[in-house]
Amino acid sequence: MTHEMILAGFGGQGVMVMGQLLTYAGMLEGAHVSWIPSYGPEMRGGTANCSVIISQEPIGSPIVTEATAVVAMNLPSFEKFESSLSSGGILVLNSSLIDRQSKRDDIKTYNVPANEIANSLGDARMANMVALGALNAALGYIVDTSRIMEAFKKIFAKKPGIIASNELAILAGVKHITG
């Protein structure tokens, strides 16, 4: 199985770190993984996105063009990447900021009010973690949630104070999907 994902949002919404955590978690599970950011002109002020691949096979291009899953944290990202989803793919929408719905009927959409959930946990900046939890759950757990937390601890080794709250955010995202 190969998961080819695009995670997109405004610069500042934390989509890069979201992708890195997922990639790291995949690596910890022993899968082939790759992460690559868009580093194009849209970086400044505009939208940012990254491609994440987690696969049982060696990875060809790290750049995802036909995605099995897309996370859109804002409207421009939704508009840009909706068409990149392959048939049967999964779309996680940050419904806090996106009031539209996909017109495609060959994909499965999950509306996650990520900002609101994060806000309710005390910090709107954790919306990305909510979305990450939701994505992983929506995909039927590409990685074990505990792996994400392990990755989190590695990447944010210097900020142990934020671990607990982010774990809650991830779990809230999972819960939003699993109900």
């Binding site: 002109p41 400044r44 002020g45 505009g46």
Partner: protein
């Protein structure tokens, strides 16, 4: 009711700037456009865009533009001006572009007394490439290539371009300005206007250094950035006219 107290200059296109929120590149663009409008030289102006955050200047200015390679805008401007001696030719350059890689080109444009105007945006950092140290980065300032703060022993001290170029005989007018408040903005505009006027009357090389913010790479809000500029940059880079070689 339809007349305007303040309207967008003709010398600006409609394209929205791609600059980060609060970045003062936009203010300097606006001032240049106003000056060119006021001098009535839009149809004879040729701007030279650098490599740096303002690389896309050609999308924003409503006159001819030549995009130059990194640091070489003064050489490109020289080529343009020699072909079009009656035109108004200016370069717009950042501190990486002008003070680092393009140091020789600006020194020699000044030495030749090249009849061009240079607008030099000193924001103490490489904006476009994501916040590396510039020759103008302050001592101890943290950047991505001085992650422990600019270390004097290792990376030296800030390069004061206006002071340095003022020693050159061919430099006609050299001033350093800031756009951090209305009064400085007025002075900035006056200096820029003068730098263009002198060119148009055939006098030598003119440069206006504008202290400018980079909220994104300084890691500050736009307002914090203005404050930081006032507290840290202006003491290192005093404002004023450094050279005015004219008799008038």
């Amino acid at each position: 009711m339809n007349s305007k107290l303040y309207a967008r200059s003709e010398s600006l296109t409609d394209a929205p700037f791609h600059y980060c929120p609060g970045c003062q590149h936009g203010i300097v663009h606006r001032i240049i456009a106003e000056v060119i409008d006021e001098l009535g030289v839009r149809k004879q102006t040729i701007g030279i865009a650098p490599v740096g955050c303002s690389v896309l200047a050609y999308e924003y200015f409503n006159f001819d533009i030549v995009q130059a390679s990194h640091g070489r805008a003064p050489a490109v401007a020289t080529g343009v001006k020699r072909v079009c001696p009656d035109s108004t030719v200016f370069t717009y350059q950042g501190d990486g572009d002008l003070a680092s890689i393009g140091c020789a080109e600006v020194v020699h444009a000044a030495a030749r007394g090249e009849r061009i105007t240079t607008i030099f945006i000193n924001n103490a950092i490489y904006g476009m490439t994501g916040g590396q140290m510039a020759p103008t980065t302050l001592v101890d300032q943290v950047t991505t290539t001085s992650p422990y703060g600019r270390n004097v022993n290792q990376a030296g001290t800030p390069l004061c371009i206006s002071e340095m170029l003022s020693t050159i005989q061919g430099a006609r007018f050299i001033a350093r300005v800031a756009v951090n408040n209305p009064s400085n903005m007025a002075k900035a505009k006056a200096a820029i206007k003068k730098a263009f006027q002198l060119q148009n009357s055939g006098e030598g090389f003119c440069l206006v250094e504008v202290l400018s913010t980079c909220p994104t790479n300084w890691g500050m809000t736009p307002l914090e950035a203005v404050k930081w500029l006032e507290t840290n940059m202006i003491p290192q880079y005093p404002l004023g006219v450094f050279k005015d070689a004219g008799g008038e």
